[in-house]
Symmetry: C2
Subunit: 145 residues, 2 copies
């Protein structure tokens, strides 16, 4: 059972990377090298983030990408939904039809509860929070001069 696909993983890492250089255009190539993400794969991920308004882009030499929103408003949940769709139990939930039998229902009831929990947790984690965590870790691990 895999929680995050590479798409989501790379996307969040790219967003963190951009969030730490806010205000300036950074090329996909630079992000790709910094985060060790395959270039062409990252390109497509960035295009998706751009399409969803999380990232801005500028074409041409000296162009690149930039965070399109306040890092504190970009939730990991949003990124997951872009690349992996909504957390779901099974297809029947979307068709909004009644479960075919009651055994289904009691199981689904539990799973929906857990699903809600996961959604709430992933909503609490924002790119801004990850960046401040990251800065804290960096300070702690810096050698004392």
């Amino acid at each position: 059972m895999k929680v995050l696909t590479k798409h989501t993983d790379y996307a969040v890492r790219a967003l963190i990377s951009l969030g730490m250089k806010s205000g300036s255009w950074v090329s996909a190539k630079a992000v790709s090298e910094e985060q060790a993400i395959p270039y062409q794969f990252l390109r497509r991920i960035l295009q998706e983030l751009i399409k969803n308004g999380l990232v801005l882009s500028k074409e041409g030499a000296g162009g690149g990408v930039m965070l399109g929103k306040d890092p504190d408003t970009i939730r990991v949940k949003d990124v997951i939904e872009i690349f992996q769709g909504q957390v779901q139990v099974s297809e029947c939930m979307f068709r909004k039809q009644l479960c075919s039998n009651r055994a289904n229902c009691v199981l689904r009831h539990e799973i929906m509860r857990i699903e809600q929990l996961v959604n709430d947790e992933f909503s609490k984690v924002t790119v801004g929070k990850l960046i401040s965590d990251l800065k804290r870790v960096q300070v702690l691990s810096e050698p004392k001069l």
Copy 2:
């Protein structure tokens, strides 16, 4: 993002079904019909549950399958692990190597926290609990004579 595969879904429903007829051999065909699970698919799922000791089997006419443990000791988490493997963030966690960079780590730290939460929740849900929930629902929905 799909939480449960059909394997797990069908397996739990089959376990509930068996749990409600404890003490007697039930054929895979009967379970398949009752729960509307494709017969051959269910056969393979049951074999996996047998191999893992959750279900007992008896060959030949009059044979079938039966719960192999107290329903209260069969956790949905166990079933998920049989069919979908352990909840995991990414492969690197298993290789037990250090994350390649710190941005990875802060993200993974959050995800591991959420992962733990999910595991705890799925551990709390047992087949026994689902059966008693199911019985409660049935009583409530019975027409008053």
